[in-house]
Symmetry: C2
Subunit: 294 residues, 2 copies
Amino acid sequence: MQASPGSKKIVGVFYKANEYAAMNPNFLGCAEGSLGIREWLESQGHQYIVTDGKDGPNCELDKHIPDLHVLISTPFHPAYVTAERIKKAKNLQLLLTAGIGSDHIDLKAAAEAGLTVAEVTGSNVVSVAEDELMRILILVRNFLPGYHQVIKGEWNVAAIAYRAYDLEGKTVGTVGAGRIGKLLLQRLKPFNCNLLYHDRLKMEPGLEKEIGAKFEEDLDAMLPKCDIVVINMPLTEKTRGMFDKYRIAKMKKGVLIVNNARGAIMDTQAVADACSSGHIGGILIIYLPVLPEE
Amino acid sequence: MQASPGSKKIVGVFYKANEYAAMNPNFLGCAEGSLGIREWLESQGHQYIVTDGKDGPNCELDKHIPDLHVLISTPFHPAYVTAERIKKAKNLQLLLTAGIGSDHIDLKAAAEAGLTVAEVTGSNVVSVAEDELMRILILVRNFLPGYHQVIKGEWNVAAIAYRAYDLEGKTVGTVGAGRIGKLLLQRLKPFNCNLLYHDRLKMEPGLEKEIGAKFEEDLDAMLPKCDIVVINMPLTEKTRGMFDKYRIAKMKKGVLIVNNARGAIMDTQAVADACSSGHIGGILIIYLPVLPEE
């Protein structure tokens, strides 16, 4: 099919879900689901090509680079948009991330080429806040060892109970209280914890009172108070490795950590050492230090 | 040591925690921790004997049955107080459960012998409500398959994502809204769900409004509306097997269930069949149908 005048050639790069696509017709973030926009795009006269082939010589994506107008991708199966690809993409106007995080795009090269790079701001904030609260509960209540015992047919209550606690009454501190941090604090409120937050900015008093959290201007003064530390900071050159052995040493012995930031915000060796020594009692991360595909 | 006049012989039956007791000096619910009341009891002139030996001929507990005054036990390592033991316990006055649930005691025989049976009412309600919310999030967000992939070094986003959802916007119904159910609903409120509850009694309007849940008088009318069903009912002769194949069939296809009641409130075969067919999308239980020690 040749794109008609005025119509655009849109390429979507998504992972193949195979049998999982068939199991849920509402599963749209995969090649099979194609974001659920095919019918609408085609009714508007556009051409919509979807592939999971994005790497290696002669991959499907590279065939379309010379004449595509719009490229849509997702963070979990990212189409890497290098300077080289941008140079070849003579018709390219728009790079869309169907989600959050556009580190797969060479933003400098895109800006120089006058391209619009857009993502769906806010689309994952509720998901992440829910996930964080789940991970806090899993750590505090020591869920996983009990789960493993049941799966293996074992029964040793002491091995779980000796470090299983209620969240109620614990001190939870979030490092970063942007949109996700605020949603987390709101969800924590009925748990009757002592809530702290460190951020560059203090919330306006009405919101702070509603959320019921106390501002801690000095991170190093907050950390020793926390039973649970939640990290909600972007990874930048300034925050890379900010949780090093000195900062971890300031935390309570046995501290539980939920790291929602990119892995590189923590010094991996320092985390491993503190887990071995018991200074860190438990940690659940959302990002691996390096994604398997990187 | 012979108990002095006026003093009592108190026997505590708890599981041995072995190395886990040494790992946490505040771990009191085990034989080593002995509930942390030894010093106080002995300062009051009482004798306090603690053992984990509770079953079989010549077990430690049986040696003390003839002259103990008070017997303390816990639900996870219960000292079974049979009619036979009660008959032999000539000095027995008080049977204490350090926790909730006294089904290890022959209550009829205890009543006939004029014994007081007591437990620590309310001691676990916050724990259970927190645990339920954790289990709801684990099911809705499809945590466990992702956890297993990471542990095994696998990477298949589709296998998780095709059935991972936010809790926000889902309909959650609790069957039973006593103390635990109410604490659960309060903790669910900031998640912006549609909250329903079935109980014999409607809450008083102020509390219902504060909690933000809608009363459903007819259980069979509530079940088809729920994405997540939480069971918060006591096991009685009336509720035994109440979640049978007919009632499960009324639930939404793919329903997620958190069963906090004793396992026998559900028909195990009906649950297994509905899990196989996919009618039940996921279930997390707190009690096994039968405890390993039973």
